[in-house]
């Protein structure tokens, strides 16, 4: 057990030691899951991110995401001869944002675990509805495994909170997988 932990720590350190300063570009896609929002259903999304890590443990990134929600369904006139299942447009979301990264942010060979925290401009568009434009905040972990070629595969999860008028919020769980290319400046 102790041996396993030591190997795990060494792997993390090895990865971080590879690149002192790193610039990386990545694309990703995955799940866009609303939390306690009956007027939407889970959908998909994809995005692109440029990440700059001036040190192996600290970084910043800018990203763009395009996501969609599934169409929600309800039953109207329940229990009557006219009972129907109705659905409406779940809509599309775009987010342009920035985030800070703490942990294994520098690229290099091996696994790199990090945390991200950030904010962005959230715009939700639905057919027949007015657009909702708000600031979103997000927080979550990521894990990237780097290869010698400079490529890395990555999985990350984000809890996104979009405060709305009246003191409520819309919340989403985002789970993405993707690939990064590290230019590795130093």
């Amino acid at each position: 057990m102790r041996k396993t932990v030591v190997i795990f720590v060494l792997l993390f350190m090895a990865g971080n030691a590879q690149a002192l300063t790193d610039l990386a570009f990545g694309v990703y896609g995955g799940l866009n899951a609303p939390i306690v929002q009956d007027d939407t259903k889970a959908g998909t999304g994809f995005g692109a991110r440029v990440k700059f890590a001036p040190s192996p443990m600290l970084g910043a990134a800018a990203f763009f995401e395009s996501r969609k929600y599934g169409d929600p369904e309800i039953v109207i006139l329940q229990g009557t001869p006219n009972e129907r299942t109705e659905k409406t447009d779940g809509g599309k979301v775009t987010v342009l944002g920035i985030e800070g990264l703490i942990g294994g942010t520098g690229g290099g060979i091996g696994p790199h675990f990090y945390w991200m925290i950030g904010l962005g401009k959230y715009k939700w568009t639905r057919d027949g509805y007015g657009d909702l434009s708000k600031v979103e905040y997000h927080l979550g972990p990521g894990l990237e495994i780097g290869f010698p070629s400079g490529l890395g595969i990555e999985a990350k999860a984000k809890l996104e909170v979009v405060p709305t008028d009246g003191g409520g919020s819309r919340k989403n769980l985002l789970i993405f997988v993707g690939a990064n290319y590290h230019f590795g400046l130093m």
Partner: protein, 171 residues
């Protein structure tokens, strides 16, 4: 500097999240009992949203009303085309003139041909809604009011509708 920025973000985020995390968006569907309206016997249909458990459970924790719309059937059994109007009021009226004079118009359909049925999908109804602020006030203040269905001239309209209300409320 960057560390300070990250620290500030890290401190602010939990405050923002804690303030609004304990909320959710619910879709309340209230089926209005079917009713038929004629010019000489305008029928009111009392609405009591507290009969809906989702509304009843969250009415005191409402943060916002995100959508109000109607879905269902309006049957024009009359001999001429009709544009259906739905009005609401706390009071009781039995003729179209009193309804128009005292109640609030909240819905206006497209023209429904004689002996035809208009089906409103969830996504359709919203464009036909009027005076949503008054409806929102009714929903925020107890959710009990009367609904009237009328049209110009001679009409014979049968309503079988559901009110769909999306609310954001504390959990």
């Amino acid at each position: 500097m960057k560390k300070n920025l990250l620290l500030t973000l890290a401190l602010l985020l939990p405050v923002v999240i804690a303030g609004c995390l304990a909320s959710g968006t619910l879709v309340v569907v209230f089926d209005i009992p079917k009713f038929t309206s004629l010019p000489l016997s305008v029928v009111y249909q009392p609405i009591n949203l507290t009969e809906n458990s989702d509304y009843e459970d969250h009415k005191d924790k409402l943060k916002s009303i995100d959508e109000i719309t109607l879905a269902g059937f309006i049957v024009n059994s009359g001999s001429s085309d009709a544009i259906s109007e739905i009005w609401i009021s706390d009071e009781l009226y039995t003729d179209t003139a009193s309804v128009r004079e005292n109640a609030t118009l909240v819905f206006m359909s497209r023209s429904i041909p004689a002996d035809d049925t208009l089906f409103l999908h969830w996504s359709d109804g919203r464009a036909n809604m009027r005076n949503l602020g008054v409806l929102e006030d009714q929903i925020k203040n107890g959710g009990q009011f009367n609904v009237y269905g009328i049209a110009d001239g001679s009409f014979n309209l049968e309503y079988d509708l559901s009110v769909i209300i999306s609310i954001t409320a504390g959990l």
